[in-house]
Each structure stands twice: as C-alpha cells, then as structure tokens.
Symmetry: C2
Subunit: 429 residues, 2 copies
C-alpha cells in the first residue's frame, strides 16, 4: 500500500529541511537581536475564534474539524487571534511594551500556486502597548534587518510604507463617508491584482463620482508625502497623518534602513483591522507576491474581549521568501553542509570497540562524530567519510595496538598525523 503527501503540503527531506531551518533560524535570530521574545500557541483552536475575527478570505480557507467531544475546531490559519487571546489572558501581569515573536506552522485550504501552499511557516513579530510610530519603525527595522542578513540588498527589495490613518483622512476629505471606508480599502488593496478597467469600474460603482475616482487613482500613485497636497488641501486630520508618516521616515533613517524604505500610498492591506501605519516588502521587480506585510491594529485585543490597547506587527511567510532567495542565489552558498567534525574509521575488526568508544567520547565532548557501522575495509570507510563531508577522519588501526596512537587525517588537504589517544582527547576537551 503506497501513500502520497496531501496536495499543497511539503515533505522536508534533509536538503529542504536545511533550507527551512536556515530561514526559521534567521527569523529567530533577527527577532532576538531586536529584543523580541518567542511565544507559540496550539496548532488548533476553536473554529469560532477564527470565524469571528479573521479576514473574510482567511475564514473561508479554514481546515475545520470536530473532536470526539463535539468541539468545533480549526487548524490555525494565522496566529494573530491566538496572540490576542494569550495577551488578553495575562494583560495585567505582562510588562510593557510587549515585544513578542513566533514562527508558527499555519494551514489554509487555498488554491495552491507559486508562493502559496496549504501548509507554510510564517514569522510574526508584534509590539503591543505602544501607540507611537517608534514601535512601527521597530517592526519594520526588524523585518528589514532579517532580509538584509540573508544578503538581499536595497536593489532587491523595498518596503513600501503608507498609513491607513492618512488614507482615511484623505478619503474623508474627498467626501467619502466613514462607513464605506472598509469596503474601499478591500477594493484598493486589490488594485494590482485586477485588470485596470475592472478596478476603475468597481471603484466608480462604489464612489459614484468620476472626479473623486480620478483623485483616488492619483492618490494611489503617490510616493512622496508632499504630493498629497496636490490632491487635497490638508485639513487637521490629514496633517496629523502626514506628520506621523514624516516622523516614521526620520526614525527609519536613524535606524539606517532608509534605502530599503519608500512611501507608497498604494499599500492599503486588505484586512479590516489595520488602523495606522501599513507596509509591505516587495521584490523590486514586482513579479512575486509581497514578501511580508503588516501594520498597526488598534482594536484587535478589544475585539477578542480585552482592553483597547494599540499594537503593531508583521507577518512573513516562508514560501515567497524561499523563491526569492533561491532566484538570487542566496540559498546554496549560505546553507553550510551538515559538517561532521570527526569520522572514526576502524581498520581492524578486533579494534571495533575502541573505534566506537572514540566516536562516542567525542560526541560526549560536544563534537559531531560519526563512525562506520562496519569495520575492516578502510578504503570504503574513507569514501563514506568523504561523501559525508567530514572535516577529519580518525583511523583506529595497528598503530593503536603498537604505540597507542591514532591517525588523524585532514579531509580537506589529505594531510595526516599520528597522535596519542590521550593527547587527542585533551585537544578536544
């Protein structure tokens, strides 16, 4: 009986696992460098939790199940609801700011395509309890700091940054009612994914006024804060939004990542819950989906039964990132082969016990050590050591019986030397 993996999932053979570990370990290291601490939740939660608060698109992509006790559950499609639940539970005892990160495995029953699978890993960082763009800047810095550490340059990727607060102020200034904003965000977020005529027609249908539609389309093309004044006369709300964005860019410059960042009003983000700064990192060619995205969400904790505490965060999946790193040639050179320090070969069956002892002593001392399960044929063992990319080969043979010495062969240059067992272990202690 033969089985296949389920469509949209991946088998991580050692080679693929090394790539995943390289990515996940990089995420973790960048988080820790910036003072975030790790958390995680369960792989499944109550279905109602996701139906209530996830974006509509995500809610439609749930893998749901019913357990023996009749509980309706779902495999997590995102970790933000879990974060909100956990933070709310301990909100009074957690020191602020709460800077947390996680690298959850997530599942969404969506149509698989390039950069989109049904099971993936997503880096999440969030700063909770700070209602100031300094926290947004910290999140953007940490995202860029990671991407930069992989070898991606400002010529490869750009963070496009905008503000929902500013966008809302401009739209209201243009005469759009507060209630229709959410629906307009969803449409604006789809702009690049829809044919131009379709987008225009849908926008006109929503807005009604052709002049306003033209202004919104111009707004979406703005890449410098000063250009806002060409579209609306900034009232107090617009001015406040502008000031905030300007201050954000000053901080990003202090942080040394201004070359990776640009203002771009076309970044809207589909989810309803964003309320302030929003951003996405894209490859500069624009061929791929966003590498990551995030922003400020002021009402999330409250929506999950907690207090009204402001928060800002970012999510980055592994699929698009891996495609980009692979395309840029940044994976193979960076993923060091699984380096074995010592391969213990045994030239004489009678000495097998000594070979096993030597290998296990090395492991106990913290070295990565392997030995041949079958002693005797030295040529075969050296070949195995070579194929495993071992750094040194320790040969247990007649020299051990004759004068208590090992042969240590440097696999890189082929040189070898004799050394007493005692001296050898002293050097590895």
């Amino acid at each position: 009986m033969k089985f296949q993996p389920v469509k949209g999932t991946r088998d991580f053979y050692p080679e693929q696992m090394a790539v995943r570990n390289y990515i996940v370990n990089g995420w973790k290291a960048a988080s820790v460098r910036s003072g975030f601490v790790e958390y995680d939740g369960p792989i499944f939660e109550y279905l109602a939790m996701y139906q209530a608060k996830s974006g509509q698109e995500i809610a439609q992509q749930l893998f749901s199940l019913t357990d023996r006790g009749g509980r309706e559950l779902a495999i997590r499609p995102e970790i933000t609801p879990t974060l909100a639940r956990m933070v709310n539970e301990k909100i009074n005892s957690l020191p602020r700011p709460i800077k947390w990160f996680s690298v959850p495995r997530l599942c969404r029953a969506e149509n698989t395509q390039k950069g989109r699978l049904r099971e993936f890993f997503q880096w999440n960082i969030d700063v909770i309890g700070v209602d100031d763009v300094i926290a947004d800047a910290d999140v953007i810095f940490t995202s860029i700091d990671y991407l930069r550490s992989t070898g991606l340059t400002a010529g490869d990727i750009q963070a496009k940054i905008s503000s929902r607060k500013l966008l809302a102020a401009v739209l209201v200034e243009l005469g759009i009612s507060g209630e229709s904003l959410d629906a307009i965000y969803v449409l604006l977020d789809k702009k690049t994914k829809l044919p131009a005529e379709t987008f225009d027609a849908m926008l006109l249908e929503k807005i009604g006024d052709g002049g306003v539609v033209e202004k919104i389309k111009k707004l979406m093309e703005i890449t410098a804060v000063e250009q806002i004044a060409d579209i609306v006369r900034p009232g107090p709300a617009v001015q406040q939004g502008l000031d905030e964005v300007s201050r954000l860019f000053v901080i990003l410059s202090n942080m040394g990542i201004d070359n990776y960042c640009r203002f771009d009003m076309s970044i809207v983000r589909g989810l309803a819950y964003y309320t302030g700064v929003v951003f996405e990192v894209h490859d500069v060619t624009g061929r791929l989906r966003a590498i990551c995205g995030g922003g400020r969400y002021d009402n999330l904790l409250k929506d999950f039964g907690g207090p009204a505490i402001s928060a800002t965060g970012m999510g980055m999946g592994d699929c698009v990132l891996e495609i980009l790193l692979e395309e840029k040639g940044l994976l193979k050179e960076r993923i060091a082969a699984n380096k074995i320090d010592y391969f213990v070969a045994c030239a004489d069956e009678r000495l097998f016990g000594r070979a096993v002892e030597t290998a296990c002593k090395l492991r106990t001392l913290g070295r990565i050590a392997e030995f041949a399960y079958k002693p005797g044929n030295l040529a075969k063992q050296l070949k195995q050591a070579d194929s495993m990319k071992c750094r040194f080969c320790v040969i247990i043979g007649r020299e051990l019986e004759e004068c208590g010495k090992l042969i240590v062969k440097n696999m890189a240059d082929g040189s070898q030397s004799q050394i007493s067992m005692e001296e050898f272990f002293r050097g590895n202690d």
Copy 2:
C-alpha cells in the same frame, strides 16, 4: 468575546517557550552530534495512512478532518508513517545508513492526564538500512547522550533493554504458537498498568497452562541474560537472541553508557511492529510513564509499499521529560534568561535619533540590543534595563554632545565608563 484554548493544548508564553526551546534544541544538538540529519513532513496526512498502520490505540486517537475536496485527512499522531512514506519514495537515491531525526508536533485525542496532553512534541531518531545491533546501540546512545546532557544521572534514569526476538524464541520454546505472540506482547506490555490478579487471570486465559504462566511471570522479572537458562533450555533461536543482546551490551559499554543501561525482559512495547531490540528509559522511581521508548522494526517500510529494509528508532515526548527535569531542578538553572547585550538609554529627548541609531547599529552587528521607546527619564530606563536582565546599559546624554562619548554601565556590578562612539563600535564589530 472571550476565547479559551482547547482542552489538552498548551499556550507557550515566553517562559514556557524558553523551556520548550531548551528541550527541542537539546534534542537537535544530540541528534547532530551523533550524525543524524533532520527531516519533517506535513502536519496532516491521509487518514487511511494512519488507520492502516498505526498501533490500534493511536488509530483511535486521531483528529480527523475532511477538506473541501472531500479528502479524508488526519493531524499526525506520530511521524513514523510519514518517515516510511518519505524514505520509500526515495529509497534508491538515499545513501545508507539513513540516519534521520525529527522533532514533530503531534496530536492525539486521548484523555489528558499527568504527562499526557492532546498536543505535544516528540523527538524521533531512526537508523534505516542496518540489520545489526550496532544501529540499536547508536539509537540508545543518542537518547542517553541527550538525557545525560540535561544533567540527569544514572541515579535518575535507566534504559531498560530487551529483545522481541529473544522473547519470541523463549515463548515459542515454552510451547506458545507464533500466531498468538502479538496478542501476548500487548498483554505483557500492560503488566505494570494492570492489578496483579487481573494480569494473572488474563494471561492464564490466553495461555491455558498454569505452569507456563508461572514461567512467563518469572521471565518478566529477569534482569540478567544468564537467568534465561533457569526458565528454558536455550535452543538455537533463544541462543541467537541471547548472543545478540550480549553483543549489544558490549557495545553500550564501549560507548560509555553501561551505567545507564540494564537488561530487563519486562520491556515488551505494545506496538505490533517491533521485531528485535526494544527499550524504554524510565525514571528510577518508576512513578512516571516511560521517558522514551523504541526498538527495531523490520517490516515497516514494507508495510508502506516499500522494500524489506530493517530499521530501528526511538521516540521521546516533551511532557514526561519536562515533568522529570522540573522535579530534579534541572530546568531553571539551565535555561539562561533571554540575555540582552545592550540596552540603549537616552537621557535627552533631542538625542533620541542617536539612541535609535546606536541600538540599530548594534543589532546590525549581531548584538542583542534594545532601546527605550520613550527617551528622557533615565531612572525609568535604567529600571527597564535591569528588569530585562541586560548585561550593559549604554547611555546617550550630554557627554555625546560635549565630547562625543557614550556612557557604558555594567549592569552586573554597576561600574561605568565613558567611551567614544567610534571606539565602542570598533569593540563590537
């Protein structure tokens, strides 16, 4: 609207996450030291795969679901079927021996109790393609090597080792038919979990012969290979089993872990698929469930549509292990607090940009650096640095304006010194 986590699952707040990372990182390090390479599979697979081949108990504990395409799936309750599927798929291209490890998240819908949750993590190591006790010894060594690295001594834990092959040979010698062996294994495995009279009655019902029952009960108490001869006259099959076990113990002694290992015929393992060496590691008091268990399984790959290749492996969950480490006081002292290298405090609001710049430059250089989101109140910032257990506090204040210097305060002893920005970064490059 307030939500709870699902029964039997865990929220990993930073403190709990640090414990989980400590355990999982230790598993990974021990695997790598012994030459195992990491793999992983999807979190869900086809339901039929588990129904077909998992132990009966596991198959009853599946979290199953049906996706939109009508596929019947299950969240993985163990990773061994995935391992068999993956290895079978590439059996001709994988260099032998195949030494793989994984640290999967697993879910089982079982009754929660001490050391048993519905979602847990399990370390798995397997050696595939070696039909010799040297591979079993390698698996046992790696398990003990990890446990020893946590600080557990031979006075805390013991690996109890037996052999299904030997047990089968003895039982057949006692007149039991080959077909009834599997059912007897299941019963023998339950011995310690059943009241003595219940076990005796059930065994008598299965065996029929009171004299044989007594002999089997004696057999279960054997802790030295020589004692087998007191129960049966060793025929060739029994002798072969005895020779194999003896050779295993010689290797374990070469490996330097003989003080952690003992022969114990009462170790049977419930699963039908074991065919050779079997073992469990227990805490010496016997109060807890087994910390880990494993053994040789000769037919698993074949059962999943592959070739008849022998394999041996081990599984260790995180729940019982954590309880034991906690009880022995081996968690708190070993889990270093999340050490922040530098906390950048800013004594003057006007210099906030320089403080942000300093912190982010440190991060870029690979240091763990945090800064105060709110500049100005130095006492408050120093308190924050202290509560975060930072090693050094860098103070950006008037010294920077006056003479281009930073103050670096050692948080351990309170000493502080002035240093130029340039020199400071040279020391951190």
